[in-house]
């Protein structure tokens, strides 16, 4: 347990020190969202209809460049071997890293959603549900990113590869996340798509620690 705490604190500290990276991620999120009304036109009726979709696509695209960072620094500095030498099970350590990554990447995105919703004429009704869906959805996306990042350690053009691997698998999260947000926005029952989203993320939670641990062991050989 102490080891997990140490890993968490280290990741958060590194994230805090590299705050420019986190801010860059949020800026990317904001910029994508700002571009859409410029391209689509300011008609609020149109914007309201597509707002949930844009929010989610922007969240997905904004988290993609950051996934490379998840393991690259550890790999470059030899920290990977240290991770493998922690006496705790590697899947547990991976889970801790996912938690740290979500606090650094997913949480800021979720918290800025209401603000950006204003830019997209997203009504404030159901915003709590939208934020909850985003929080869980970004958690799922980060888990996918973690598997992909571990898989491409040592590969050429790892960044592009992560995108190719993550985007197809992220489609269901996108579909149900947008469905949840749309239902919440319209005041309808958001539970069915939300429960699907939750189920997807729980499934990923069951797979990710072990798949990532296996990939990390292969990478360290």
């Amino acid at each position: 347990m102490q080891a997990q705490w140490a890993v968490l604190k280290r990741d958060l500290l590194l994230g805090w020190r590299g705050l420019s990276d986190t801010i860059a991620g949020i800026s990317f999120f904001v910029m994508i969202i700002a571009l859409v009304p410029l391209a689509v036109g300011p008609d609020t009726a149109t914007l309201t209809v597509i707002a949930p979709a844009i929010l989610w696509i922007a969240a997905l695209l904004a988290t993609l460049p950051q996934m490379e960072r998840l393991f690259a620094r550890d790999d470059a500095e030899g920290g990977l071997d240290h991770l493998l030498m922690i006496p705790a099970p590697l899947p547990l350590t991976v889970l801790t890293k996912i938690a740290a990554a979500w606090l650094l990447i997913g949480l800021p995105l979720t918290l800025t959603a209401p603000l950006l919703g204003m830019m997209l004429a997203l009504p404030l009704a159901g915003m709590a549900m939208v934020m909850l869906a985003l929080a869980i959805g970004t958690f799922g996306l980060l888990m996918l990113g973690m598997i992909a990042a571990a898989l491409v350690l040592g590969a050429r053009r790892g960044g592009v590869l992560i995108a190719i691997l993550v985007l197809p698998l992220a489609m269901p999260i996108l579909i149900f996340g947008v469905a949840t947000s749309q239902a919440a926005m319209l005041g309808e029952n958001a539970m069915p798509p939300f429960q699907f989203l939750l189920a997807l993320v729980l499934l990923l939670l069951a797979i990710t620690p072990w798949a990532t641990a296996m990939s990390l062991r292969h990478a360290a050989e």
């Binding site: 598997i147 898989l151 491409v152 040592g154 590969a155 050429r156 053009r157 790892g158 590869l161 190719i164 691997l165 985007l167 197809p168 698998l169 489609m171 579909i175 499934l203 797979i207 798949a211 296996m214 990939s215 292969h218 990478a219 050989e221």
Partner: protein
Amino acid sequence: MFDYLANPARFQRIANVIRPLAWLIFIITLLPGLYYAFFNSPADYQQGETVRIMYIHVPSAWMALMGYVLMALMALFYLVWKHPLADIAARSMALPGAAFAFITLVTGSLWGAPMWGTWWVWDARLTSMLILLFLYIGYMVLVDSFDREDRGSKAGAVLLLVGVINIPIIKFSVDWWNTLHQGASVIRIGGPLIDASMLIPLLLMAAAAKWWFIAITLIRMRTLMGERRLQSRLASRREGGAHD
């Protein structure tokens, strides 16, 4: 049995027997299959002659799914039992499987345009089939992105196992979700729903697709195994030369 096949030379000897047999079975199932499919089976009472796309579309879909399942099985063999030929098998099956997935999507689209009035619809079955195609492509890109071949094979194997969840989603998508796509009519509890006059050509075409897949995979495996032997000979020659 799989231990028996682990020796590459022994595998190649057996493959050299199976491969011409596979081509033969391919021909003798393809020719009557095509004949029955295009000339000697009934046109649909609603769809007319366009129903004949089914005889290409459905076998391709079955092969795309079977290809991925086999690749995932090979991935399991490679990661868990470290079978030396499993990663070669997986790499060999990737392109034929992807081709079948692509053909499924294209023939489905060509069928949907006159039938449903649309070239594409984002329902569960089509979307999950598209995801399957992307998984195939992602695998092919991933395994060749590493300098060391075994790293690529291991990464690809993990990807295959993670993506296997997509297969039951594809299969059951027409039961679980509201969809334009037809429900399960052949592989279902209670037996096939379609008449023998259409079922026989369908099964013949499916058999033809399967044996083509087997023949092509064996050819690709032979090529990959030859490349590997070549690499190791070049490597040992380089090392041997350095000692002079």
